[in-house]
Symmetry: C3
Subunit: 268 residues, 3 copies
């Protein structure tokens, strides 16, 4: 049942890495289906991979999510398998890249440090744990192996830190980082519907401060709720509060990048 | 039998969108095979997506073609399912993106406006019909559901306009837009073999006017029919009349872009 | 058993070519699994495709490797099927692109020139042998057809020349071209572990000359064996001797490109 493996990495599509992980999975578990989310992520961009994985787990919780951006490969950091409270299974290095996906999937139910010797796979190459540890682990899980049989339990509190902070309330405002800018220029803030509900209101407009900008933005359902070229705030498929421009790029308009911090309050 | 779904979009490969559509299809119809044609299309570039889809349907008529470039998502435009006279099934938004593929597949046999409630899928998110309406529709069709069971019939004359015009005869010349420039720099004109046959001759050379250029171009079968660096006209796999430079880029050479208009006549 | 087809090309992901090859294979041999290695290779870059294919066959010898970078398509060059001494099966044009993969797979056991008429496929289009000759051949092989049944034997000595030379010993040094620069900026030299063993030592440092640079580089197992920003030499997953910078780009640091020539000797 849990045979879909969503795969995110910074491997690009100009080398063998993505394909080799596919091949390893197909061989170890032919019934698994590997679904590529994104591989076109800048090298070592943990923030972007974490944002994609969080969006993926939000949209498809009942799957295995394999996430590999791994600047520390071979240097002793742990390879994790995390089972979340909503039943998602996450596999990736212990460098924070899984943490936002854990938030979006209800928190940690149990976490394990993968032990390569338990995978019945070749000796791991020190430069390519994706192929030799993480993909084989995802394949084993896809074929029904229990997480506790591929690793040692780890303390959920011991995981590496997230590349960004989840939005939080400060007085009447929500403070949140820009998590991600998508290819259409939409700007996603680390504000889930759950965080948003802290404002205790059903807004028609939001007041957004971003750097030196102060904006009153209509809160809508879709890009077409405003006229061409106008800003709208909405929850898009990522599940994060998103600033978008109809038929344009909010990121270009606002001149912002991932990592900026916004303050959001009910407008009108 | 019709279980191949050819998928074209402007989603890129840096976010979750393409993968989520794959996952939706695999779940609803495990025996479907999704084949990605192109996702690396500029955001909102309906012309390019229409050109790719037309080339895809020309090469693989007996398939379902899912085409998503959808600047108007959520704004009330229809989601279409079109069955063509040659048996191809096209699924995409009603913004013209399917029209060139309809031409290449023999014209409309029947057309339907997809009714999400008939898809037995989750409530559509207003920003992501690809995942919640179009991909589920393609999956249902791949698993044998009849088009009339997922939507309401629509008048074939009511479809949104094509992003480009098909070539037409004017005196002894054919007038046609540049449909597409491929990554090798080959320039495709909206002239199918059928349109070409209007010239009533089996040419060895073509006279091509493009902007201020006037060229006599050998008409061949393949790039190697001319010397390195020379122009040749041929029908490539897209099924459109194509201007190419052997081991070079015709687009760079001629300085033209999609949307330019050419006049073609028998040369010699 | 040999149903994985690793696919490498310069087709990019903005047109129909890759997908059409997938579709052809799925139809002719539904049980085949196509694994995309790289399609994001510059048009006509035979060197890069050869490097990727060599790395692919090194990592996954027991597969069919379909490699298409084919500037001479339609011009009479042969379409090859090569069986290697380690049991890999390679399919691609006879322009040298398969040769480094042949080296990495133990050399030629037998080689054939594919005869389209023996493939039971449509007449080949002169511009698209990938779809009409090479992919159908790979599909037939994946479904158990013997190589001798799809082509005529050819003399292994008659194959087109490799785009790069394998490293060789000269006195106490190894001389080798830069085969490839990967997206992380790692620089791969045409030195396999076998070639390296010619130095008859188990080095801790290498002396590398590259252009006007003369460097003493620690020889390690992984990027993390040195401090951030420092150079390390290692054998990465490609199986070639690789110069890397921890959390940085060796190519940028050294200012080199594929095709440069390096001299390597035991350092200390």
């Amino acid at each position: 049942m849990q045979s879909i493996i969503c795969f995110t990495s910074d491997f690009g599509l100009g080398d063998t890495w993505v394909g080799m992980c596919h091949a390893v999975i197909y061989r170890a578990c032919p019934q698994a289906r590997v679904v590529d989310l994104a591989h076109d992520i800048d090298p070592f961009d943990i923030r972007k991979a974490a944002a994609v994985a969080a969006s993926g787990v939000w949209q498809l919780p009942e799957a295995i999510h394999l996430v590999v951006v791994d600047p520390g490969v071979g240097g002793g950091r742990r390879d994790l398998c995390v089972v979340t409270k909503r039943g998602s299974v996450l596999v990736g290095p212990d460098n924070g890249v899984l943490v936002p996906a854990i938030w979006r999937a209800g928190g940690i139910e149990s976490a394990f440090s993968i032990v390569p010797a338990q995978l019945n796979f070749q000796l791991p190459l020190a430069t390519f744990h994706a192929r030799d540890v993480l993909a084989p682990a995802a394949a084993a899980l896809a074929c029904g192996v229990e997480p506790e049989n591929i690793g040692e339990p780890v303390d959920p509190e011991s995981l590496g830190a997230s590349p960004f902070r989840i939005g939080y309330q400060e007085g009447e405002a929500l403070v949140a980082e820009v998590v991600d800018v998508d290819r259409f220029g939409s700007v996603r803030l680390a504000i889930s519907q759950e965080v948003m509900s802290g404002l205790n209101a059903d807004p028609t407009h939001l007041e957004v401060s971003l750097g030196h900008l102060q904006m009153d933005v209509p809160f809508g359902r879709t890009f077409s709720d405003v006229s061409e070229g106008e800003l709208v705030a909405l929850f898009d498929s990522s599940g994060w509060l998103t600033l978008a421009v109809r038929l344009g790029s909010a990121a270009d308009r606002l001149g912002i990048e991932p990592g900026s911090v916004a303050r959001v309050r009910i407008g009108g």
